[in-house]
């Protein structure tokens, strides 16, 4: 098997780029804690409202710099307690689950893009940089009302 000299140059360049991409996202994810939404906690999808923390959906302050937002997704709405309101510059831990089909919880103009799967609890930590009213939409098809499934989160100073 003979490789042309230029092909060697090209493949070397390509592989170096791929390794660089992987290293950049790897360091950013694991060393700087920017892993995507996930989590290994399970829950009975029929008993969501009886199971903590989903028995009390809403925003709760955990300590000075951390808040937890517990939200339930169902066709075709989100239940996050009264109104979703969190401060900018603090770590917000979003915790979601679904009582029926798969949904998403996607906050526009942020990196929060979580799949919400029945039987599982999805977690994502995010710190808002700017205050404002952010649109939240479901971007995973969940039924006829899918395009009406949205809400808003208010980020305060």
């Amino acid at each position: 098997m003979h490789l042309h000299k230029y092909e060697k140059i090209w493949l070397t360049f390509g592989i170096v780029c791929l390794v660089a991409f992987l290293s950049i996202v790897g360091v950013n994810a694991f060393a700087q804690d920017h892993t995507p939404a996930g989590g290994m906690h399970t829950i009975d999808p029929e008993k969501v409202r009886e199971t903590a923390p989903f028995n009390e959906p809403g925003v709760k302050q955990l300590d000075d710099d951390t808040y937890q937002a517990t939200i339930i997704a169902s066709a075709f709405a989100y239940d996050g307690g009264q109104t979703l309101q969190v401060p900018a510059g603090k770590e917000i831990i979003f915790k979601l689950t679904s009582t029926d089909v798969v949904h998403s919880f996607t906050i526009d103009n942020t990196n929060v893009n979580m799949m919400v799967v029945p039987g599982q609890v999805t977690t994502k930590s995010y710190t808002f940089k700017e205050p404002g009213k952010y649109l939240i939409i479901c971007n995973e098809y969940c039924g006829t009302g899918h395009h009406y499934m949205y809400t808003e989160i208010e980020v305060t100073e």
Binding site: H4, K5, Y6, I9, W10, F13, G14, C17, F21, I24, V25, N109, T110, N111, K129
Partner: protein, 40 residues
């Protein structure tokens, strides 16, 4: 032997430049989205 091979290696300079154009597209698009990721 290696010398001889070199001589016979055909001229594929245009190919090299073309694939590097592909490489440029890959890197440019990736970096753009990565910067967007960092900014939001």
């Amino acid at each position: 032997m290696t010398k001889k091979k070199q001589e016979h290696e055909e001229n594929l300079k245009g190919t090299l430049i073309s694939v590097f154009f592909v490489g440029f597209v890959i890197v440019a698009m990736w970096v753009a989205v990565y910067l967007m990721y960092l900014s939001q």
